[in-house]
């Protein structure tokens, strides 16, 4: 059996929820959507549910998506309320957002519980940022996070590489002054709360380890 769903005018995660419901109950579902995000979300849903997926642009801004079960078996998707939908939605949306990714380093450790562990976690995290595609547009260091940019910091090398690769590194001047690190900052540039607040407000995504 096949059904058609009109999801135009609906915001994430509605289109993906309707598509999921449709393919759970039918062999084939055709969904009309009116934005790229919904197309990508439903494409991910199809992959996850092992369905064939085709997309046809009907008119400017209207897409016709067709999902079809590949086997006779019913589609198995994560049960439960909307956990699966949220996941499909957020992942696809984050991949779609055109705005900059901003990483906040607000401490010289990652997480709470054990300082020595937090120290190696933040070093691992910053090293791993180098492998992100795209790289963070901006990295903001404040409070004890400014210590990560100091000359004798174990994270200095990776932060310098990130800067070389194009990430803008803002280092909170108030914090540098507070910790007496004025002559020890080896990476990034000293910034102020205006820049920091503006950059955070303009970010598509903020990541804070």
């Amino acid at each position: 059996m096949s059904i058609t769903v009109d999801a135009r005018g609906l915001a994430c995660p509605e289109p993906v929820i309707l598509a999921k419901k449709g393919i759970e109950e039918n062999e084939e579902v055709t969904v009309f959507v009116d934005n790229d995000t919904a197309v990508e979300n439903i494409r991910r849903l199809a992959a996850k549910a092992a369905c064939t997926f085709s997309v046809l642009e009907r008119a400017a801004g209207t897409w016709e998506l067709t999902l079809k079960r590949t086997g006779a078996a019913a589609v198995q998707l994560p049960a439960g309320a909307n956990a699966g939908d949220d996941e499909l939605c957020s992942i696809a949306v984050s991949g779609q957002e055109p705005g900059p990714l901003v990483v906040i380093l607000s401490d010289n450790r990652m997480g709470r519980g054990d300082d020595a562990l937090g120290d190696i976690l933040i070093r691992s995290f910053i090293h791993t940022l180098l492998q992100l595609k795209p790289l963070p547009a901006t990295i903001i260091c404040y409070n004890a996070g400014v210590k990560l940019t100091a000359r004798d910091s174990a994270t200095r090398g990776d932060l310098q590489q990130l800067e070389k690769d194009g990430a803008d590194i803002l280092v909170c001047g108030t914090c540098v002054n507070y910790f007496g690190l004025g002559d020890q900052i080896a990476v990034g540039h000293i910034s102020n709360m205006y820049d920091i607040a503006e950059t955070m407000a303009g970010a598509a995504r903020l990541v804070r380890p």
Binding site: L117, R123, S124, H127, A154
Partner: protein
Amino acid sequence: MMEPQKFAVFLFSSVRQAMQADNILSDKGIAYQLIPIPLHISKDCGVCIRVGIDQQDQVAAILQGSVTWERIVPL
């Protein structure tokens, strides 16, 4: 053009062993880096110590007797 530097990683049986090696090498002023274990070596969440391949023997000698590593893998 300069040859890209070649590295080796020391893998440990526990995070605590890796942290101990981290402390020892830091005290000795050795050039090394603590990094997440590369995914092609293990999908486990862990950390390892990366050193220049030409420093591998020197680092092994320093750690010998204090920390036990599981294996050394060239990158």
